[in-house]
Symmetry: D2
Subunit: 94 residues, 4 copies
């Protein structure tokens, strides 16, 4: 079972994750795309990463906007290294 | 600009849309799939319908669950025939 | 029923479509991506355009490569304005 | 490096894979869907399985048809257990 990270550990990890923030026990980022076409392409790419990591974000989409939120169910819904790892993989998508 | 439907019109339309409900000025349905794989396949299919209809839902996904919510921005965020039409198309996906 | 374009018309259209060529009565382009993740994101985006245009390419994918080929079934499998239009839309994806 | 399966091993595996055949050193299956919408949903689901298995098929799509072909690059393009495993996973999609 993954261990929740401390606030200091999360703050440290966020230095490598511009645009992400730590809110309500989640890592979260809002994306804004040109249109729905680009947004859905992104969602599919996040989905592929999620299956590879065997860890799945909350994904919320309205037209050209996508919000990704990450926490770990098996760690009382807190942020763990699994969330940091997936956020870093998503970050590399651009 | 599409006209908001009356409550009676929405109630009538919902007779053809089992599992959908009218809440907070939206048509909404919760889907539960076997896993994330099936959920993402569904999201992509909803996305294709949305582009064909030039009308886009709110899509919220957590692992095997998907919530679809529909309203019409150009009608003060109320439910119009555009929402009913897209809900009917999504309904045909199964 | 769309009319096949002449070779001169196709040559003219291709001046706006770098990387595309006219082979075996098709417009065709090979894409090379960083990995499968990027390739599948692209395929989904092409799919959304195809549904909007109500015109569908042949799509061939192996890992990070995607080949798109376009012709018009209703015009004896020749290239028509429908193929040029869709190629231009796909071109805008990058 | 995965070892190519013998013809007898492949024939045995195919008893659990109705609709699949062994042609030109590949496992291959043709799918026919109702429309492009259903076909693309399927392709995305195959893509998710491919990333999980870290093994990728050839995917060929024209409108409502999809051909999936599997072989193993690292085994001289022959069929290995990796192909059988992925075919079985795809088979479960329906």
């Amino acid at each position: 079972m993954p261990t929740p990270l401390t606030d200091a550990q999360i703050t440290e990890a966020l230095t490598q994750l511009p645009y992400w923030s730590h809110q309500n026990n989640r890592l979260t980022r809002d994306y804004k795309f040109a249109d729905f076409n680009e947004a859905l392409g992104f969602i599919v790419r996040v989905g592929l990463l999620a299956e590879q990591h065997n860890h799945h974000p909350e994904i919320f989409n309205v037209y050209s906007t996508v919000n990704i939120s990450l926490n770990t169910h098996d760690a009382d819904g807190k942020v763990t290294h699994k969330d940091i790892d997936l956020a870093n993989a998503i970050q590399k998508l651009g």
